[in-house]
């Protein structure tokens, strides 16, 4: 249960006044310090988001005003609508969404079973396999991209969202496998065995008993994958010309656009990722009346 634990009544300590007072002050001080730290961390994460949102929703003139107002006094959707109506933005957005969701589906489809296998079976080469998984992330995309572009050119996949999807899946798989395997390890073997005793086949046991319990971890992996794909610029920019994803599109046009356009682009890039995380958050914490990892 996550119910707040009721403190038993503290025995009355008849210590000298000064001592209890000092102890109380120290405890108070620690509580305040904790609050301050929490606020500081929140601001560190939240402030840039706020500033981008503010700038993205300000008119072009108000951005150039001095001193710059930090309060949402002069909101307008003008910049945003200009940004959204400029060439390539909406298709870019759709491409990004498509790539993100395909990558998500593909990496879960391959990564979750692999994670399960890593967690449950002792097979030859298990350790090296895990290390190898991480090594794929050690190669910079720049190094990979040229040979990749060549491969995709010869296979006719170049400048398609599928090419970007494949690249992103390759980038996301190691983390998907490792995260989900960690979660599967945490689901007791007993549960699977109990399911099989009570009439389930192996796959049924996994589907009905193991997967539901692994859901928070799978959600985390999904979140990570989608955001990674949404934010990835370099590979997407190299592998596409016309079928640009949003970051690639923004990157390509960023240099010669006005300041307001950049902020609007920033907001358009941040928003879907934030929404996605907010949706997946409920799978991460507090299910079935208990807090899982």
């Amino acid at each position: 249960m996550t119910a707040t634990r009721v403190r038993p009544p503290q025995p009355q300590v008849t210590a000298p006044e000064g001592d209890t007072g000092r102890a109380r002050r120290a405890r108070r001080g620690r509580a305040i310090a904790l609050q301050v730290a929490c606020v500081a961390v929140t601001l560190f994460m939240g402030l840039p988001l706020y500033l981008i949102t503010l700038a993205g929703l300000s008119s072009r003139e108000s951005l150039n005003r001095f001193p710059l107002s930090l309060l949402p006094t002069d909101l307008s959707v003008e910049t945003m609508s200009v940004f959204l109506s400029s060439t390539g933005v909406v298709p870019g957005f759709l491409n990004s969404l498509q790539v993100g969701l395909y990558t998500l589906a593909l990496s879960l489809l391959i990564g979750v079973p692999a994670g399960y296998a890593l967690a449950r079976y002792a097979f030859a080469g298990r350790e090296p396999y895990q290390l190898f998984l991480l090594l794929t992330r050690a190669l910079p995309i720049v190094v990979l991209s040229v040979p990749l572009a060549k491969v995709f050119l010869t296979t006719g996949l170049y400048d398609t969202t599928y090419a970007v999807t494949l690249l992103h899946t390759a980038l996301a798989l190691p983390t998907t496998v490792l995260i989900t395997s960690a979660v599967f390890v945490a689901v007791p073997r007993d549960h699977e065995e109990a399911a099989m005793i009570f009439g389930a086949t192996g796959p049924q046991a996994v589907l009905r008993v193991v997967l539901p319990q692994a859901l928070p971890g799978i959600a985390a992996a999904a979140m990570f994958t989608f955001v990674m794909s949404w934010n990835e610029v370099l590979g997407a920019a190299i592998l596409t010309l016309n079928q640009r994803t949003l970051p690639a599109q923004v990157l390509a046009t960023l240099g010669d656009s006005p300041l307001a356009y950049r902020f609007a682009g920033g907001l358009a890039l941040v928003l879907p990722a934030v929404v996605f995380i907010a949706v997946m958050r409920r799978y991460l914490i507090n299910m079935w009346g208990t807090t899982l990892r």
Binding site: A194, A195, M196, F198
Partner: protein, 361 residues
């Protein structure tokens, strides 16, 4: 209802050097409650898991109700099981947990509802059917696990240390309840525990295991009273059986045992070992403690006095041996006092000092 016949089961875990079970053969009769008991790592859980189908033996066979199930998956064996960790599913409500086995077997919903309700009544879970396991206490989770196991009406009920995660008081309470429930449903039950008191209190028969082998099988009192080897006597009972070495002396007046410089009357049957050392075993409750010397009494020095409420547990030194004996609660004794012990020849058990096996019947 079904009997279980295990024949020559051998299992070595991958990477393990010794056999987890070493040629174990055991039969559990239809409707019988058999308890496998032994120290941890003796192979009792492995044996249970081979009956459940969660492990496959290297050789040997398991038959349930006359059907060879050695190679069948768990779901085709018609067994049900209570796990040590309970293994109830945290993402399902109590109702769904109990119904799981029935749903997997495609029992009609109305029938499921009826049987879940019945099981919940037996285990006093009716008020908790719509809760998640995380909202239950340990004892209640245990009840859910048992309800889930009995609701499927399997031919064989397997239990793997189901009480070991409960606190002492609850364990005692639930033990009696469990015995009642199993008696009511009359299912053949194989029960694993390392707790000898649990084994004694629950089993129609108990099988004591050690190092992958079954050492002794029999009704609890018989195993308790006549351990087939020194290990069994030392494992069953609190306090465990006392052991000391003595030399058999056969004389015209009768057979006696020499312990240090004292003598103790012994049954005639042991006279065949005249002049040879034997290990003598005697239960604490079969030793009478007195404060005055007398015919056939052994002198011992008190080392520790432990009141247990219902009696006084004394640790005494007899020659070079330490014994645990029981005195009535009002017995006046202090450490370093001398007491006189008397034990009837019929209460003595004899073991070979080398093989530690029982010497007579």
């Amino acid at each position: 209802m079904a009997d279980i016949v295990m024949r020559d089961l051998v299992k070595t875990y991958p990477g393990g050097k010794t056999r987890a079970t070493d040629n174990v053969s055991l039969t559990v009769a239809d409707g019988e409650f058999l308890v496998l008991v032994g120290p941890s790592g003796c192979g009792k859980t492995t044996l249970l898991r081979m009956v459940a189908g969660l492990e496959t033996p290297d050789s040997g066979s398991v038959a349930i109700g006359g059907r060879d199930v050695t190679w069948l998956p768990p779901r085709e064996r018609h067994v049900s099981m209570v796990f040590q960790s309970y293994a109830i599913f945290p993402h399902m409500k109590v109702r769904q947990n109990i119904a799981f086995g029935l749903r997997m077997r495609k029992v009609p919903p109305a029938e499921i509802e009826r049987r879940v309700r019945q099981a919940a009544e037996v285990l006093e879970l009716v008020d908790y059917l719509d809760r998640y396991p995380a909202q239950l206490s340990g004892g209640q989770r245990q009840r859910v696990a048992v309800a889930r196991a009995i609701v499927v009406d399997a031919g064989v009920l397997l239990m793997d240390e189901p009480l070991s995660n409960l606190d002492a008081l609850l364990r005692l309470q639930f033990r009696a309840e469990l015995k009642k429930i199993v008696r009511q449903i009359g299912t053949t039950t194989l029960y694993v525990t390392h707790d000898q008191a649990e084994a004694m209190s629950l089993g129609d028969r108990i099988a004591v295991m050690r190092a992958g082998r079954i050492v002794q099988v029999g009704p609890p009192l018989q195993v308790y009273d006549r351990p087939s080897e020194r290990f069994v006597g030392g494992f069953l009972g609190t306090p465990p059986m006392n052991f000391f070495t003595a030399v058999v002396a056969e004389a015209s007046g009768g057979t006696s045992l020499r312990v240090g410089d004292q003598a103790l009357a012994a049954p005639r049957a042991i006279g065949a070992f005249d002049g040879r050392p034997v290990v003598v075993g005697v239960r604490a409750e079969n030793v009478e403690v007195g404060t005055s010397p007398g015919e056939g009494r052994l002198r011992a020095r008190v080392e520790v006095v432990e009141p247990t409420g219902s009696s006084l547990l004394l640790t005494v030194r007899l020659a070079e041996h330490e014994l645990k004996v029981q005195a009535p609660p009002g017995f006046k004794v202090e450490p370093d006092d001398t007491v006189w012990l008397r034990c009837g020849p019929e209460a003595l058990r004899f073991y070979d000092p080398e093989s530690t096996l029982a010497l007579e019947s």
